[in-house]
């Protein structure tokens, strides 16, 4: 096979499969929109303080799976799952589980930066506030902005409307907003696809830092990005069943180095090498 043109994270990648300390364990997960089974039989594990990338062609269900991790799909009428997602040892879809509590623990950053049309400060303070925190708000906001590498750029204009920030700054603000509720996991759905290259680089650097403290799951269209930032990669694709219906499917899940150098599945190889997708 052709040598893929991806710059992989160096040999400092600490994780080996054996060392995976799972935050999520996905067991035979299928996701439905009404009757339509969008994704079928996914098994994977998300390691603590790792970056896991989900790649694959458009429509293969990456976003669908990602949104299962914080029960965002609950909001879509008719959406439901089969199978299990364990968060630590707890069933994420168990009866007693409160999705609102879930979303507080598992933050999310979206494709298009979506700051609230409010001052920067209020954007960051929003999460803590809705969770009933009232004290020390200033320091919570500052800490979150620091961690999101945005503090220096905005510290003098915290009262300014967040929409006046540039795209890259807005996305980092959204990350700060997610961090401010002190989640354990951050889900990111193509967080850079609306950004320019410079902003993208900043976000990627930030992800590397956040990785010290948080577990990160990222969906990306950009193979290079997956290769650059992630520890593990899940490759999804969609295939058509006998009835002519397309279903998303997890093809391969492994360490990123391995996926990009020695994929065990032909489809992964084709995709990586640009023969398809």
């Amino acid at each position: 096979m052709t040598q893929p043109n991806v710059t992989l994270r160096g040999p400092d990648v600490p994780n080996t499969p054996g060392s995976l300390d799972p935050v999520f364990t996905v067991e035979d997960l299928s996701v439905f929109y009404g009757d339509y089974e969008a994704v079928r039989n996914v098994d994977m594990m998300i390691g603590r303080r790792e970056i896991t990338a989900m790649i694959g062609p458009s429509g293969c269900g990456k976003s669908t799976v990602l949104r299962c991790f914080n029960r965002m799909n609950d909001l879509i009428p008719g959406a439901h799952i089969k199978g299990k997602i364990l968060y630590h040892e707890e069933d994420l879809y168990g009866d007693h589980v409160d999705p609102i509590e879930v979303r507080r623990r598992i933050g999310m950053v979206f494709q298009k930066p979506n700051p609230f049309p409010k001052p920067i400060y209020d954007n960051v303070a929003y999460g803590p506030r809705v969770n009933g925190i009232k004290k020390n708000m200033d320091s919570i906001v500052e800490e979150a902005l620091q961690k999101a590498a945005l503090w220096d750029e905005v510290k003098d204009k915290l009262k300014q409307n967040a929409l006046s920030l540039s795209g890259g700054q807005q996305q980092r603000l959204c990350i700060a907003r997610a961090i401010a509720v002190k989640p354990e996991v951050i889900l990111m759905d193509e967080p850079c696809s609306a950004l320019d290259p410079i902003a993208t680089t900043k976000i990627e650097d930030l992800m590397q830092e956040l990785r010290q403290e948080y577990t990160i799951l990222i969906v990306t269209h950009n193979m290079q990005q997956a290769a650059r930032v992630s520890d593990r990669t899940a490759f999804f694709t969609a295939d058509v069943d006998d009835a002519g219906v397309r279903h998303g499917r997890l093809v391969e899940f492994d360490q990123t180095t391995r996926i990009f150098t020695k994929p065990s599945d032909k489809r992964t190889e084709d995709y990586i090498t640009g023969r398809f997708g």
Partner: protein
């Protein structure tokens, strides 16, 4: 694993994901909101309740055959006659005149605003249309009766009654222009840009693009706009009461005075028909008919919209 959590304030991973405090407020709010939405159902029920009993009583005294089988209308005359056609015909005639005025003008204005006008021009003209839409119908009636009718009497070759269907119809038409224009404009603006670009890229002119791509694509929205406008026209009361009058004879002559259904309700309703008299019940029977007509048109409109809506989305 909990020991690995070095952030003091962070929730321990083993802390349960169960609801930390009950949220009765959320449920209460939802009930309140639903109640607000149900007011509209209550309104419809109220209308039906108000109409139903007197209407049933009416039809126990007057046969459907007479109601729909005769062309003589005079529930307050003696002997009373209950052939509803004169007021239906008057209603339809005025509505017809109105839509003949409003559809071409309204649609043309909509095409102009949506396809030709610059954003600045649109920003000026849409509010002006809204102003036109907000003018009270008494004002239109006054204008029709005291300005338009005398003017038409001067310029038209045939004779016009001081109150007549023609000027009332014209003014009802003007009244509904903004409805047609504004809602059609919304529908046309909602047609994806990509369709227009597709047409332009094939060498089509602006006119061709507007007429053969945008209009058909916005068809369901335009139908909905037109139907709403028609129901407004059919139910309009003040303009016809002032400018078309209350004469209930069976005629198609637009120069003649005639009473529409709404005008009949208004005049009989503010008049002296004693409660319980057949004349009084007539008001409700006509009201029911008007309500059913509106309902039928809207049902049709909803079906049209559903059938064609956003198939291209």
């Amino acid at each position: 694993m909990a020991s690995a959590n070095n952030r003091a304030t962070a929730p321990g991973p083993n802390r349960s994901l169960a609801r930390s405090r009950p949220r009765y407020g959320e449920a209460a709010v939802k009930v309140l909101l639903l109640a607000a939405a149900l007011v509209s159902i209550a309104t419809t029920l109220g209308i039906v309740a108000a109409l139903l009993e007197p209407t049933i009583e009416f039809f126990s005294e007057v046969s459907l055959g007479e109601f729909f089988g005769s062309t003589s209308w005079g529930p307050l005359f003696s002997p009373p006659s209950f052939g509803v056609w004169p007021i239906i015909v008057a209603t339809l005639e005025i509505t017809l005149i109105a839509i003949i005025v409003a559809i071409p003008l309204g649609l043309a204005a909509a095409i102009y605003l949506s396809e030709y006008a610059t954003p600045r021009v649109r920003k000026i003209f849409k509010p002006v249309l809204e102003v036109l839409a907000g003018i009270p119908t008494v004002v239109f009636g006054f204008f029709a009766f005291s300005f338009v009718t005398p003017l038409l009497q001067d310029i038209l070759p045939f004779s016009l009654d001081p109150r007549n269907a023609l000027s009332a119809g014209l003014l009802v038409g003007v009244m509904i222009i903004p409805i047609v224009a504004s809602l059609s404009e919304d529908a046309m603006s909602a047609v994806p840009r990509s369709l227009r670009e597709g047409s332009f890229a094939l060498g089509a002119s602006k006119m061709t693009t507007s007429v053969s791509v945008v209009l058909p694509a916005a068809f369901s929205g335009i139908v909905a706009a037109v139907i709403l406008a028609i129901s407004r026209a059919a139910g309009e009361t003040m303009i016809v009461a002032i400018a078309a009058g209350f004469k209930s004879i069976f005629t198609f002559n637009p120069g003649s005075e005639m009473a529409t259904m709404a005008a009949f309700i208004a005049s009989a309703g503010s008049g002296d028909a004693p409660v319980g008299s057949i004349a009084y019940k007539t008001i409700f029977a006509v009201g029911s008919l008007l309500f059913i007509m509106t309902f039928a048109m809207n049902w049709f409109s909803a079906r049209m919209v559903k059938k064609y809506r956003e198939v291209y989305e």
